[in-house]
Amino acid sequence: MNNASNKKTITFISRQAPYGRNNSRLCLDMALASAVFEQQVNYVFLDDGVLQLVKDQNAESINSKTIGNALETLGLYGINDVCVDKKSLSRRNLQPTDLIIDVKMVDRSAIGELIRQSDCVFNL
């Protein structure tokens, strides 16, 4: 972390459900900005964060933008290392097929390893 290389590995851990609070959107915005500025980005959905990925969201009914549809753009921004915590998913009765985008299923030790390898972690 002390070497001033211009390319850092930044891990974003998105832990909150969509809509109730705004953290999911803030987290996505930060990650997209990191990608625009050519950083190495990991994106992790953990705890309630996995609920952002549920299919069939339509937030028009609450005058909001649909976060699931925005998450589909991660790939276009070159963010391909997108992980979901298996345990968080199964605790919420969700299967990989319930999710809006293709993601890597990982366990907690893999998330710990991502944190360890990162120069900086944003966790919200």
Binding site: M1, R15, L46, D47, R108, S109, I111, G112, E113, I115, R116, Q117, S118, D119, C120, V121, N123, L124
Partner: protein, 96 residues
């Protein structure tokens, strides 16, 4: 690379559970704000403390009347020491 994790919400939010599941050897936890109520828990963090160092911010303990209720025997630190810890560990991850 070692990591200092700050936890700033009360135990009812269960942030320590998730945090603990991603900790690596050499990491540490510091309780701040409502996180300091972890110090008032009956269940001891003894096992956890064998592997990980546990700190608690004294200013937040004092504010909440919890200085005498450090049941888990966390190491109390002030803001100066909090800043020093952030230097000592390679990075800081905040749980809020």
């Amino acid at each position: 690379m070692s990591c200092l994790h700050t936890i700033s919400q009360s135990p009812s939010r269960q942030l320590l559970d998730t945090c603990a599941s991603v900790l690596e050897t050499g990491d540490a936890v510091i309780f701040i704000e409502d996180g300091i109520y972890y110090c008032n828990q009956k269940e001891s963090l003894a096992e956890f403390k064998v592997e990980f160092q546990v700190y608690s911010l004294v200013e937040d303990m004092n504010a909440r009347g919890m200085l005498k209720r450090n049941l888990i025997d966390a190491e109390l630190v002030n803001y100066q020491q909090f800043v020093e810890l952030c230097c000592e560990y390679d990075k800081v991850v905040s749980w809020f």
